[in-house]
Subunit: 140 residues, 2 copies
Amino acid sequence: MEQDQRLAYALVRTAKTYLRLSNLGLAELGLQQGQDALLRYVWARDGLPQSELVGCLSVEPPTVTKMLARLEKAGFVKRRRDPRFKKQWRVYLTAKGKQIEKDVQAHWTRMEARATHGLTAAEKRSFIETAARVRSNLIA
Amino acid sequence: MEQDQRLAYALVRTAKTYLRLSNLGLAELGLQQGQDALLRYVWARDGLPQSELVGCLSVEPPTVTKMLARLEKAGFVKRRRDPRFKKQWRVYLTAKGKQIEKDVQAHWTRMEARATHGLTAAEKRSFIETAARVRSNLIA
DNA sequence: GCCAGATAATTAGCCGGCTAACTGAATTTG
DNA sequence: CAAATTCAGTTAGCCGGCTAATTATCTGGC
């Protein structure tokens, strides 16, 4: 079909395929869908404000509220009000949240190897660069 | 961050950005999220069986059930049982469903132009081809 | 012909995403 | 200082996606 000539179609279809497969691995670690994406930022900076997650994840505030509620319920993070700036919540890792980091990173590494199998370094670099240009076209 | 060197990260992030923007345009036409993707197959073959949509969209049966229920409620399609093969439902366009086709295709064309702005034909082709290889790596 | 198994679709219930409308805290401004 | 505004986060409710379990309809083998 002519649709198959569209970059957008290839992009979205491939991303969906990736996410579907990736979620299987995450489920084995006790995580759902985009929870790894959120944890990534908490691993990088323990205690970051909730509002910053909204920015990092490019997602709306209610989405973060729900995700954190579930991650907290599942025992990966806990939230505390900032004592000086009380309208703000900060997100902290629990022991369980810290422990799972290396498993998730191993999962990402495995997924990346599988996705890029048979690509040269140049092909991979070129794909990433084009994706970045497409994204900035869309944001502009 | 090192994450930015991963193809998968670039892929998923760009696709999300695309979908978010695309949905704004679809909303103006009275459609939601993936409803255009489903309609595409009905435009190509009016009266196709519901089960075929499951295959085309690479999605699970309950997802199609829900999407069709909403598209039907919104008046874009109607479903009829196959008279000979009664366990199967077929999906037909309404007048409204037919009318909207050209608007959606114009939307896709606009989005594609915006996404690929500044890319050469070769860059675009190369991106699509790499995406296809990544996808087949993941499916295998 | 009849019963077992495969197949088409549905229901219930969960998660991630959104918008709209709201609460409560902090800051700006008259 | 008080009122208005802006900002952080929540709640409700919708949609697209999933899995698990169920219903209804074929199809095959005995």
